[in-house]
Symmetry: C2
Subunit: 209 residues, 2 copies
């Protein structure tokens, strides 16, 4: 499992001439790091002196960021598997008509899985950004830059996941699936950009909104 590799090992296997793991797994990792930083800021806020009235919000936020982070840690491997599924489908026999049909269906199913996986990553990343946004002015002020970096890692995860959706979209023959997906990624990217700009601005001003 990729998640059991050390940071150093993962970096090495990423750099290698194997196409997997690639951008999809890195997008999931980026989102998980974002969730981890949001959780850390919550941990540094909950029950701390001067933060009594925002403690409950931090606790609720952490429950959710912890859950999303775990999901994303899992997606580091799932995304690489989805990619391998497409590769495997392409290697299916294509001599008889029946084989051609089965192969083509398996390829389409593989591409859909290779789209659903980063789409789920992008949705989780956007939710982490919403959580970070909800912590502005309500978190330990010494950890403001960590909240900013966390939001930005989630934003990178979102954008990376969207690029992985886009790259597979032209291979999809199901038009409804394709147009629904296009709408979803456009909405995710737009909302992500709004949150990223707002959080960055807040951190730059040192928390004076």
């Amino acid at each position: 499992m990729l998640v059991d590799m050390s940071l150093k090992e993962f970096y090495q296997v990423l750099s290698s001439d194997s196409p997997a793991p690639g951008g999809g797994s890195v997008a999931a990792l980026s989102g998980a790091m974002g969730a981890g930083l949001v959780s850390m800021v919550c941990n540094l806020t909950m029950g701390k002196k001067g933060y009594e009235n925002v403690s409950e919000n931090a606790e609720k936020t952490m429950a959710r960021s912890g859950s999303l982070g775990q999901d994303l840690i899992g997606y580091i491997d799932v995304d690489t598997n989805a990619f391998n599924e497409v590769m495997a489908a392409f290697k299916m026999p294509k001599e008889t008509d029946e084989q051609k049909k089965a192969r083509s269906a398996a390829i389409q199913e593989g591409y859909k899985a290779a789209i659903r996986s980063p789409l789920t990553i992008a949705e989780a990343c956007l939710e982490i950004m919403e959580l970070a946004d909800g912590m502005l002015g309500k978190g330990n002020s010494n950890a403001l830059s960590d909240l900013g970096v966390g939001a930005d890692m989630a934003y990178s995860g979102l954008k990376g996941a969207v690029m992985n959706v886009e790259i597979n979209l032209p291979s999809i023959k199901d038009e409804t699936f394709a147009s629904d997906t296009t709408k979803k990624i456009s909405s995710l990217e737009n909302r992500g950009a709004v949150l990223a700009a707002r959080i960055r601005e807040y951190v730059k001003k040192g928390g004076q909104a």
Copy 2:
């Protein structure tokens, strides 16, 4: 060492109520993942059929992205150590005038180290973005989204590192150091934004520049 932790363990220690590792180490990790993806795209280009005339460029790019990636992997731990240095300085005795002076100097030195470290991370991340930019139209087209994700991870590393510089700047008493640093981070951010937008646009169009 943080870099010897598994992805899963690093995520857990990041989420915890300890302020270190925090955003600085994550910025270095993000940059390293960017470098890893750029190296992977180079590896998928070098010596491959149809990429003969860009093979040499890919090889040169990989030598540099490999070196920057290794540096950044190292900075995952360095950045956390720099933060711990400031924390340690604050705990120095402050009873006599001499102790106060030594403590104050150690705190200032700690803050400067805590600025120099993310500044180096930001510079390495910008160079990774330049390398990714130089690979546009010259890399394996099947790995275009990986190049896009790689550039974005480096951009996130750059922005995260800059936030870590900013958060420590108000504590610096040396005005020349402070104004030089402000100029540097502003220039890094501006160039990063230009490259990020150009690379994103190129990937969105599927490589038709």
